[in-house]
Subunit: 177 residues, 2 copies
DNA sequence: CCTGAATCGTTCGTTTCGAACCGTTCTGGT
DNA sequence: ACCAGAACGGTTCGAAACGAACGATTCAGG
């Protein structure tokens, strides 16, 4: 309950709070593993950031940190009351920005790369990813939010496959610049 | 032609080279304006980075820089021969990673926000964006790559609208947590 | 046990980020 | 013509994010 230093919370901060809300208690390493099969699809973070972000949030009083005595001396985190409250407040505001995207494939396409050969590689990768999402969907039991966001990912993968497939078919076979 | 220091070129570097290839000569500010109606949709960069990136690329010998004498003393950039070559090499390799995405809306959904109220805001924003893309498509004349990447953006906006619209309809009216 | 492989956790130098600021140019009013 | 304020253009700088690399622990098999 003590009001500590309050650094700005980024969306990434809330991502960590949200993960812990579903899967606490957890170490940063476990969060990384969970994130890889859940939020990384629409909220990418380098794994090192989970360590620093947890530390920051604990510092700010939004997480409780407990450290193992022996062995790896893992730091295990839980939401504090303040953390739970911060999460609830943020979650209740439906006004959010649109996405930010970085797609190297589209960038190359824009820059004039040969569409057909780009497309071939892209279709394959997106199909692989689509399958992994679909497997996730029926293997795991998950929260509503988790299922919905995964379904969104599936929709976008399908859209990507549609888009790139169209570019695969012949006629675009000019030299690779 | 002089081989200068060669810092790693990031995809953002190539984005700048690619823009200049289509629209040279240009100042960083002009690049920003062009980017806003072209690559920002799939390759977001803060505008200040265009200034530093141009400087870096000029330093590396991939751009030619000319500075105005009077007034704003703008720096005007063109591709150098080396820059053109670097762009061509990069463009010819079809093996590219998949996208990275950061979508705060999906993040909130994942974290358990009320789907219906989130959806309402999201649908509106995505529809606005979809319209702006569609206007771009017939107003402007553009390169093949530009048109294609814009069409991809339109496809994804439609997908977003499909997804969020589904969540708009009643029954999800539980309290906003 | 011992050795190598997998797992786990963190550090640290570099790059990116974006708020904030300042100088220039434009616009309209007088 | 001149001035005030708004819009535009460009840059700086401190903070945050990034990711390569490393060191330490645990596990698996011989």
């Amino acid at each position: 309950m003590i009001a500590m230093s309050t650094p700005r919370l980024s969306d990434t901060s809330y991502a960590v709070l949200g993960l812990l809300d579903l899967f606490e208690p957890a170490t940063p390493y476990q969060l990384k593993q969970i994130a890889q099969v859940s939020i990384f699809h629409f909220w990418s973070i380098p794994h090192t950031q989970l360590y620093t972000e947890c530390a920051r949030l604990a510092e700010a009083g939004l997480l409780d940190e407990r450290r193992e005595e022996s062995g790896r001396r893992r730091r295990v985190y839980r939401l504090s009351a303040a953390g739970r409250k911060a999460l609830r407040t943020w979650r209740a505001d439906p006004n959010t920005d649109l996405y930010e995207l970085r797609d190297p494939g589209l960038l190359k396409l824009f820059c004039g790369a040969d569409p057909a050969s780009l497309a071939e590689a892209q279709v394959e990768r997106h199909e692989r990813r689509l399958h992994s999402y679909q497997e996730l969907l029926d293997q795991t039991d998950m929260s509503d939010g988790m299922r919905l966001s995964l379904e969104s990912g599936i929709g976008h993968e399908r859209e990507y496959i549609r888009f790139w497939s169209r570019l695969q078919d012949g006629r675009n076979k000019k030299a690779l610049t």
